[in-house]
Every structure is written in structure tokens, then in C-alpha cells.
């Protein structure tokens, strides 16, 4: 079941498209914003709302890496592993984060606070290495210890 807020936002978003199905990525992002990730239940509710089948919708949902079809922590750290970041210290940053959080890529901390995922070039190469936490991009993380201050912002 979609919440009223979700339903309202989805309806608003769909206005941009000629056909309800076209709004499916946007709709999934909305439920993800509300729930952290796209649960099977949410997937089915959105599919229903857009007159799609769950199969049709999941076929699209699983294509896009920023739609999470598995549970994530309260905050998602997306670490850019593309070439510009690689060249200026991605490996050190990743090493630091995995040690500091005690998790590897694709994992969630035991307290459910952070999930660490790789992401393609964030488009802030001039300030590489960079990460994105939830929807905020942070660059210039060389040396990696700089990330400490940032983590504090995400309880």
C-alpha cells in the first residue's frame, strides 16, 4: 500500500509524462525516498498504481543502480570508483572507509547506519576523490581522514 504522501507525490510527478508508465522511475524514487529502499511490497503497490505488472516494473527497477531493491542502512554512502577518483586516491579512501565502518562494498553496518556502495563517476572530478552520502556530494577527500568530519553529519 502506498501512503497518501507517496501517492500524492507520484501523481504530481506523473504529470510530466504522456503515459503513466513513463513515470515509473520517478515513482520508484519517491517510494525509495520515503522508505529507504524499494521493498517488494512497494514495488507491487507502485506497479498497481501505474497499471503495470510487478514484472514489468521490476524489469525497469533492477536496471537502474540508484533504485535499491535490497535493504540499505539509514544513510547510503556511494563511493565513486571511476577513473578520476581512482587516480587521486580512491583506493586509500575505500580502505579507510571499510576499516572505519567495518564493512565492505555492498554491506551495511551492524547498527544499520551506513550502507557502502560503489557508484560511477559523480561528475565532480575536479575535486576527486568524492563520495555521495544520501543526496549530498562531497569531494576533496584526500587524505581520507577528511571523511571523518562528514560522517558525523549523518547519524
Amino acid at each position: 500500500m502506498l501512503s497518501d504522501a507517496e501517492r500524492r507525490e507520484i501523481e504530481e510527478d506523473i504529470k510530466a509524462y504522456a503515459d503513466r508508465k513513463m513515470g515509473c522511475v520517478g515513482a520508484l524514487k519517491i517510494v525509495q525516498r520515503h522508505r529507504g529502499w524499494v521493498t517488494d511490497e512497494a514495488l507491487k503497490a507502485v506497479a498497481d498504481h501505474l497499471q503495470m505488472t510487478p514484472d514489468e516494473l521490476d524489469s525497469v527497477a533492477t536496471f537502474y543502480p540508484l533504485l535499491f531493491r535490497r535493504p540499505v542502512g539509514r544513510h547510503v554512502i556511494l563511493i565513486c570508483d571511476s577513473v578520476s577518483c581512482y587516480n587521486v586516491g580512491y583506493e586509500d579512501l575505500l580502505g579507510y572507509l571499510t576499516k572505519r565502518l567495518g564493512i565492505g562494498l555492498g554491506q551495511t553496518t551492524e547498527d544499520g547506519r551506513f550502507t557502502l556502495l560503489p557508484v560511477a563517476c559523480l561528475g565532480v572530478c575536479e575535486t576527486a576523490p568524492a563520495i555521495m552520502i544520501d543526496s549530498d556530494v562531497h569531494g576533496g577527500l584526500e587524505p581520507p581522514e577528511k571523511v571523518e568530519e562528514l560522517l558525523k553529519l549523518y547519524e
Binding site: T53, P54, D55, E56, D58, S59, T62, F63
Partner: protein, 935 residues
């Protein structure tokens, strides 16, 4: 065939004349070149995903460098120059296989697909041999997809054919491709039964072993060890061509048999998986007669080899009065004909219900009497406007539904073609077409699975459906009779639209049939077709009939079964011979009982049923795969099916039992099927084409003395399976009825199309070998598609006149508990034979009564609540299903579901709510309510 200008293309610098408007891959395969491919499929065309069909293209004869292109994405245009043998192309094609094989499990020795695997064939064809990678393969989890299709994702080579078939071609919505990059996954969102009635085609569409036949797997045998013969599906009236495969005396699977005019590359799941009844443990394998035991109970006395005929003969010769024969729309033409000979035409009754009899007769009189052509399935798929009148097409004739799914694309595809996108560029066409659909209109009793494709839908009682049809005809040609009074608003709105769409179409098709149980609906359909014809169109008029030989039996004639009941009641029937029929399906119980109360009843059938249980003597009949004979499809196409294997016990084809009985009682002698067909053709001109439906038994490939083998030359051959009986290999049985042998020896080339037992060609072990049997890719088989149309429109002669019996508008009963009960159809369930197959039985819905929720409120607020339904004295206990598509005052009765038969629909029925005193038992039929009444 259209007469198009040919163009010249060059392959390895040699000129070839080919048809334009096709891809170079299509052209190469048509010309007989071996060029590997995966994502391309002859029915689904090109998308260019797999990159397997790479060839070198040269600008002109001076271009020596050329560039790699995908043949499937290259238009065959004047002067196109390609090389298949170019070293760079050869290398690239083998590298594509190498890529595909990086993650393939190489489990051929344990893979169901092995030996019939397109991936194996293409791997050999490209010469890829050595594995150069040392890294781990990616693996996937498999899904449970229901009783029909097995899933083994690791074998996937990501050709996307499955989704393209299941979703794009067949309109499925519960299947898909998930994730991305080298992790793409083909399956369902979650485990569960595939919902499409065409899911089984995945087995043939998939070029490797991801989707395989679960019913074959259940008792697996290597595919080259299957004995096969050409056959015809017996589960609806369309006559799809199939290839059943047998091993060790049991049927193991059914596969599609290409027929360009009929089913093309596909069949439905009812046809593919409905064969289980043939292997039933309940099969009647020996003749027997019934005596009364000391304590009055019936005893079955098995008759040994050679004893059945004398016994039957004595019964017939001891007849103290008339011997009547009751034919069957599911028995072969030959069997029905010989029964008619045996009983005499005056005592032969067509084994339809009274209503079906009239409906089929009307259909036949329209088709044989008028100048209107009935289209082939292929022609339906090419229609550019369709009006369905009174049929649940997907429920009653699934492959016709698949054809309609293609028909709605015709108009938009033509538009795409006009803007320069060739039809074969499938994905581009789909993107151009988007959700556009050509005109399809449906008028039916309740929602059908293809309603979402339709431009307009009307749901109503048969009377109103008929009135809508008459109104459309009158809107097309004012001289056609128009209904008096108003139509329901929803129907009235559609009239001008439907008329306009049909009038402006170039290939309109009207579909109707026996499904609504209404003579008026059929008449209305004929009127529309006639009105179009008179407006200068060449409309197609296609009728859905319920059984595999409904039309054959209808053409053969005979009397109405109701008259047989009357005869029996008047004690004018001493002996009754029932051919492959359960009269309780066709008549009410009292009627059937009256008929079977004759002094002597002989039943010929393959499975026990109510009728068989009341017979005094029973002869074991061959099921379709165990016999040879002819069926006539709804198109009027006479098609031969062949004995795939010799069944155990004393099973014989019904026609052979009857031929022997005929001879034994002093009648004419028929030794082979050809004898029967010759006599039939001579006696009734309409069957003149039957002998030509397939080559006669003495047919031999020119200059050769050998027959055509049923077993492939790769057959493992002799086994020790009978060693406990005899260490010598038994002599293969002889087959006097066909040019086929029960052996692997014989002619190993390409036989006439009606005799193709399997599609195989050197290097092409999978079903893809069909390319080598066609005169052009996707066209007819060499020598013409199998079967012979018995009904062609008379070019001159008396034109059908308009039907006038327009019924008054449907009015709901004043009594709120009275409903017009109309039949509903289910792919799985409405055909009784296929429903006996265990995997199909799993998917048969449980019985119900469908009511408009508004009406249902008078009885219950809760869906699923049980009501009692009384139709003409027969009572049924059924849970209510809400169905908003059903008109007020009408109730839908899922005909043929377990316990739901023996009434003629539509009929008025009374609904009663649960009263105390009802026994708590499951839904279904109740007998002996004592409110009996004859119709």
C-alpha cells in the same frame, strides 16, 4: 504469394535473386546458406543484439576492405554485396560464441536441450573449440515457473528471444528481463506459474537449455531417441500441426510442427501439454463386455486377442431392431464415416449436443453456401481490422488469439513501413508503433484476455451481441436487415465506429463461432461479412468451433442427437454404438441415460467415462498419437495425423474397429486408411480433397523403394528393453496406412510436407532446421503447407442471402433470481481431454458462477459464497465470482470445468442462496434433484 520484383544481391561475389523487404540474414537462409544467429527469429525478426550473424559488407566490387555488419540488420537491397566466408567475419562469429560460452555451464551431457540445441549447433558451425578463459563463471538462481516450463538460468546466452516472444509477441505481462550488464536475468518477478497460455513456446524459442519442457523432463529421454510422426492437435478446432514424440510406449512431449498457413512456429500450452491423457493409467487397453454378477453388480470380462470381433459381431447380428451409430466431433473423419456406413445414414447421429449440431450446421451452410472465404490462421494474423462476435477467442481457440495479437499490429506496422522502417527491423518497428493498435472490436459475454487490445469492447447477452452484429451489417449496407428497437448504449456507440473501421480496412476479418451458443450471433457475423463483400471488400469470415473435427463431422452430416434420444425413448433403438463420445457431455443426464438404456450399447473410446461405464461392450480406441486418420479444422482444412507409435494392449484406431465390424457383418471391406478415404471422397464430393490431404500409403520418394522413418537416424536404436521377453530385436511393426515406417531406416532426406516427422538438417539439430524445409524463411514448406482445404468460396453461384432472424433485445427476468446462464471458456478446463493431463489439471480453475457484482448483491455480499444454480432441472452448487464485465441479469458458467457440463447454454437458470439442510460438500454438480424436465 505476392508477385514482388526480385532484386539482386551478391554473396561471395555471386549474384542471387531475392525478394526485397527482408534482411540479408533472412535472404541468406532462404538461399540455403548456413549463417549462425541467435537473437533473430523467423517470426520475430531482427533486433541485432547477439552479433552472431556478422558478415562482411562491401560497398561495391572494388571495395576490398569492407566492414563487418550484422546480416540480420542489413536490408537486402539491390546490389548489396556481402561475404560470409570473409576471414574477419568468420573470426568474429567464432569470438561471439566464445563470449557466449564464457559463462555457459557446458553441461551438455546432463542438459535436456542436448542434441537439439541451437547453441551446440552454432558453436560447431563457427568452429569455436578451445576455452581461453580461466575465470569463474557467473551463476544464477532458477525459478519455479509452473508445471510446464523448467528454468535453468545458468545456460542463458542472453539472446532476449524469450522476452521478445513472451511479452512482445504473445502479450504476456508476467515475465521479463531483469538487472543489467552481464547479470541480466530472464524470468519472473518472483517464482510462480507463467500466466501466458503460450508459455510452452519458450521451450522452442530458447536456443539453449534455459527453458525446457517439464513434462519431458519428468520422464526424460534423449531427444534423438524419440519416435515421432506428423500429427494434429486435438484440443480445439483450429487444427494446429504438432509433432508428438514417444519412447518405450509412452508419449513424452509435443512439439510444434510448422505449417505456414496454420500455426506457423507456435502452439498453445493446451496443445503442448494436454497430451497426458494418452498415458493415463486409466486407459482402456483391452476390449471387454459387461455381465451382471451374481449379486447384481457389473462385471467386466476382458476379451483376449481375436475374441473381440466375434463378440461384437454376435451383438450386432443379434440386434433385435435398429442399430444406431453416434459419431463424435473428436473422432477422425474415417471413424465417423465408417460408423455412418455401419449404421446406415438414416441411423447415424452426429455426436454434438442438440444446440452445437444446429450451430455447426449453420456455420457449414454459410461457409459452403456462400462466396465468403474463411481465412487461414496466417491470414487472420494479417488482417487489418477484426470484429469478434460472441467468442472468447483466447479461451476457446488460443492460437487464434495469438493471431489476433499480431493482427492488431498490422495497421501501425504499415504506417511504420511508410516512414521507411522495414517490417523485419522488429525493435525499431515496435518503438515507432509504441502503443498504437489497429482496429479490433470484441463483443462477448464477458471480458476476454485480449480485451485490452481492442479499440472497442461490448459485453452483453448473446441476443444483444447478435443485435450489435446485425446493426453493424446494416450500417455497412443499408439493405442488410437492421434490428428493431434500440441497442444498449454501449453497443450503439460502437456501431458506426466498427462499420467505418471494417469498411476502410483492406483485409477485414469477422470472427464468430459456436461459443455464444447462438444461431443469431452466427447469422449476424455472416451478415457483416456479406455486407462487406457487397461493398467490394474481400472479408474473411472465421468461425470458432469447439472440437478438432467439428467441421468434419458437420460436413459428414447425420441427424441431431436429440432425435436419437427420441428414438430411444420410443424404443426404436435396439443397439447403440457410441464412438469416442461421452453423451453426458452433450445431453442432460436423463437424456443420456434414456439413450444408453438401449438393449445393447457398444462404446469405442480410449478412456473410461460415464457413457463407457454404461456400455455393454467396450472397444479400446487409439488416442490421436496412436492412430492415423484425418481431421477437418475450422478452416475446412483436412489434415492427416499419423500413428506415432503402436500402443500396447489391443488398442486399435476406431475406424479400424469399425472397418472390421463392417466387414464382419457383411458390409464393404476396407483394409487401409486410403481405402476408406477413397470411398469417402467418391461418396461425398465435399470430401473429394481428403485423399490429397497427404500422400497415400504407397507413396515413395521418387525412384526409391523405401519408406520414411519415424525414428531419426541418430536414434540410439536397439536396446535391451525387451530382453526379458526375447533377446532378438522385435521386427518393426508394419504400417499399411502410411508411407512412414516404425524404424530408423529409410529415406533420410526432406519428405513431402505432410510427412515431416521432425525438422532436421545437417548441422541443424534444433527446431531451427525448419528454415531448411521452407521455400523461403517464414513462408510455406517446400511443396506447399500440409493439408487440403475442403471449403473454398464459390467464385460464382448462389450468393448467401442475409439472415433475418434478429432476436429481440435481451431483457432481464422479472424474477430477480432468474438469470440467463451463458458459457464462459478457459484455456485450461473447457477442453475436457487436455484437462485430464496432470500438468494441465493443475491449472484448471475450480468451478464458479460469475455474476455482475450488482446482481450478486441480491444473494451475497461476499465473493466466494456458495449458491445453488438450477438449469433445466439440473442443479449445481457453486461459489460466486464477481465479474463486473458480465451484464446485469446474465451469469457466466465456466463450461467444461469438472462437473460443469450436460446442460445446453445459454439457458435460463435460477439462483438460490444457501439454505439449511445443504450437505457440506465441495462445489460441483448435484444429481437427482427430481425437478427433471426434458427440453
Amino acid at each position: 504469394m505476392e508477385d514482388k520484383k526480385l532484386i539482386t544481391v551478391y554473396i561471395e561475389d555471386k549474384p542471387y535473386r531475392v525478394k526485397p523487404e527482408r534482411s540479408m540474414l533472412d535472404a541468406c537462409l532462404t538461399l540455403g546458406f548456413d549463417l549462425p544467429y541467435f537473437c533473430w527469429h523467423p517470426a520475430m525478426h531482427s533486433v541485432g543484439a547477439c552479433r552472431q550473424c556478422a558478415v562482411k559488407q562491401f560497398r561495391d566490387e572494388n571495395d576490398k576492405k569492407g566492414m563487418l555488419v550484422m546480416a540480420c540488420m542489413t536490408p537486402a537491397a539491390e546490389g548489396v554485396r556481402i561475404s560470409i566466408k570473409d576471414p574477419e567475419a568468420v573470426e568474429f562469429r567464432s569470438k561471439v560464441i566464445e563470449w557466449l560460452m564464457l559463462n555457459h555451464p557446458h553441461d551438455c551431457p546432463v542438459c535436456d536441450e542436448g542434441g537439439e540445441c541451437h547453441l551446440q549447433d552454432m558453436t560447431v558451425m563457427t568452429g569455436h573449440v578451445y576455452r581461453r578463459t580461466r575465470f569463474k563463471k557467473r551463476t544464477h538462481r532458477n525459478q519455479y515457473l509452473g508445471p510446464f516450463v523448467n528454468h535453468e538460468m545458468n545456460r542463458c546466452i542472453q539472446c532476449y528471444r524469450c522476452v521478445r516472444f513472451y511479452n512482445d509477441y504473445a502479450g504476456g505481462r508476467d515475465f521479463g528481463v531483469f538487472a543489467a550488464h552481464d547479470n541480466v536475468y530472464f524470468g519472473r518477478q518472483e517464482d510462480g506459474v507463467l500466466q501466458s497460455e503460450f508459455s510452452g513456446n519458450l521451450v522452442e524459442v530458447c536456443p539453449t537449455g534455459v527453458f525446457t519442457d517439464r513434462t519431458l523432463k519428468a520422464h526424460y529421454t534423449r531427444k534423438w531417441d524419440l519416435q515421432t510422426a506428423p500429427s494434429i492437435c486435438v484440443h480445439c478446432g483450429l487444427g494446429c500441426n504438432v509433432i508428438p514424440g514417444e519412447r518405450y510406449g509412452t508419449l513424452r512431449r509435443i512439439r510444434n510442427r510448422y505449417n505456414g498457413q496454420v500455426n506457423g512456429y507456435f502452439i498453445c500450452d493446451r496443445g503442448r501439454y494436454g497430451y497426458g491423457f494418452v498415458n493415463s493409467e486409466r486407459r482402456i487397453r483391452h476390449p471387454y463386455y459387461v455381465t451382471c454378477g451374481a449379486s447384481g453388480e457389473k462385471e467386466e470380462n476382458k476379451l483376449d486377442e481375436g475374441k473381440a470381433l466375434p463378440h461384437a459381431k454376435s451383438l450386432l447380428q443379434g440386434a433385435k431392431g435398429t442399430i444406431i451409430g453416434i459419431g463424435s466431433p473428436r473422432a477422425s473423419l474415417e471413424a465417423n464415416y465408417l460408423l455412418k456406413r455401419l449404421s446406415g445414414p438414416e441411423n447415424f447421429y452426429a455426436g454434438f449436443s442438440g444446440r452445437d449440431f444446429n450451430l455447426v450446421r449453420r456455420i457449414i451452410s454459410i461457409l459452403t453456401g456462400g462466396p465468403i472465404r474463411t481465412p487461414t490462421l496466417k491470414e487472420v494474423a494479417e488482417a487489418d481490422a477484426v470484429f469478434v462476435l460472441g467468442e472468447d477467442v483466447p479461451g476457446a481457440a488460443p492460437m487464434l488469439g495469438l493471431a489476433l495479437r499480431q493482427a492488431v499490429r498490422q495497421k501501425p506496422v504499415e504506417a511504420a513501413k511508410k516512414s521507411g522502417i522495414p517490417v523485419w527491423n522488429d525493435y525499431a518497428v515496435r518503438m515507432a508503433v509504441q502503443n498504437d493498435k489497429g482496429p479490433l472490436f470484441i463483443a462477448a459475454s464477458a471480458a476476454t484476455r485480449i480485451d485490452p487490445l481492442a479499440e472497442g469492447v461490448f459485453h452483453g447477452a448473446p441476443e444483444d451481441i447478435a443485435r450489435l452484429g446485425f446493426a453493424v451489417a446494416a450500417a455497412i449496407r443499408p439493405d442488410a436487415p437492421a434490428p428493431q428497437g434500440a441497442l444498449p448504449e454501449a453497443a450503439a456507440r460502437l456501431v458506426p465506429l466498427i462499420a467505418a473501421r471494417l469498411k476502410t480496412a483492406s483485409r477485414p476479418v469477422i470472427i464468430s463461432g459456436t461459443g455464444a451458443g447462438s444461431m443469431a450471433v452466427i447469422g449476424a457475423a455472416a451478415n457483416i461479412a456479406k455486407s462487406l463483400l457487397e461493398s467490394g471488400k474481400g472479408p474473411g469470415l472465421c468461425f470458432v468451433v469447439p472440437e478438432c473435427n467439428s467441421i468434419g463431422l458437420g460436413l459428414l452430416g447425420g441427424k441431431n442427437l436429440k432425435e436419437a434420444v427420441a428414438a430411444a425413448r420410443q424404443k426404436r433403438a435396439d443397439t447403440v454404438i457410441v464412438l469416442e463420445n461421452d453423451l453426458f457431455d452433450r445431453l442432460s443426464a436423463p437424456e443420456a441415460e434414456a439413450l444408453l438404456a438401449a438393449r445393447q450399447v457398444i462404446a469405442i473410446d480410449h478412456l473410461p467415462n460415464h457413457t463407457v461405464s454404461m456400455a455393454h461392450m467396450v472397444l479400446p480406441a487409439a488416442a490421436f498419437a496412436e492412430g492415423t486418420g484425418t481431421l477437418v479444422s475450422n478452416e475446412g482444412r483436412a489434415q492427416r495425423f499419423y500413428k506415432v507409435y503402436v500402443p500396447g494392449g489391443q488398442i486399435e484406431e476406431s475406424w479400424r474397429w469399425l472397418a472390421q465390424l463392417l466387414a464382419a457383418t457383411g458390409g464393404a471391406e476396407f483394409f487401409t486408411l486410403d481405402d476408406v478415404d477413397r470411398a469417402l471422397a467418391e461418396e461425398m464430393p465435399v470430401f473429394g480433397g481428403v485423399p490429397a490431404a497427404a500422400p497415400p500409403a504407397d507413396f515413395r520418394m521418387s525412384g526409391l523403394e523405401i519408406k520414411i522413418p519415424r525414428q531419426p537416424h541418430r536414434f540410439s536404436g536397439r536396446t535391451a528393453i525387451h530382453a526379458d521377453v526375447d533377446v532378438h530385436e522385435p521386427k518393426p511393426p508394419v504400417d499399411p496406412d502410411s508411407p512412414l515406417s516404425f524404424s530408423m531406416e529409410g529415406f533420410d532426406g526432406r519428405p513431402p510436407s505432410a510427412l515431416i516427422s521432425r525438422f532436421w538438417a545437417p548441422g541443424w539439430n534444433s527446431v531451427q532446421a525448419v528454415n531448411k524445409f521452407q521455400s523461403e524463411v517464414g513462408g510455406q514448406l517446400h511443396g506447399g503447407d500440409p493439408g487440403k482445404r475442403l471449403i473454398e468460396p464459390a467464385s460464382k453461384g448462389p450468393s448467401l442471402s442475409y439472415f433475418t432472424g434478429i432476436p429481440p433485445a435481451f431483457k432481464r427476468a422479472w424474477d430477480k433470481s432468474l438469470f440467463l446462464i451463458v458459457p464462459l471458456y478457459h484455456v485450461f478446463g473447457s477442453d475436457r481431454l487436455s484437462a485430464l493431463s496432470p500438468p494441465v489439471a493443475e491449472l484448471v480453475p475450480s468451478p464458479y458462477l460469475a455474476l455482475n457484482p450488482e446482481d450478486a448483491r441480491d444473494f451475497t455480499a461476499r465473493e466466494g459464497a456458495e449458491i445453488r444454480l438450477l438449469i433445466e432441472g439440473v442443479s449445481f452448487r457453486l461459489p460466486v465470482r464477481f465479474d463486473a464485465s458480465i451484464a446485469r441479469g446474465v451469469a457466466g458458467f465456466p463450461f467444461g470445468l469438472p462437473g460443469l457440463h450436460g446442460v445446453e447454454l445459454p439457458a435460463w437458470g435460477r439462483i438460490e442462496v444457501k439454505m439449511s439442510g445443504w450437505a457440506e460438500k465441495s462445489a460441483g454438480r448435484e444429481w437427482g434433484e427430481g425437478e427433471a424436465g426434458d427440453v
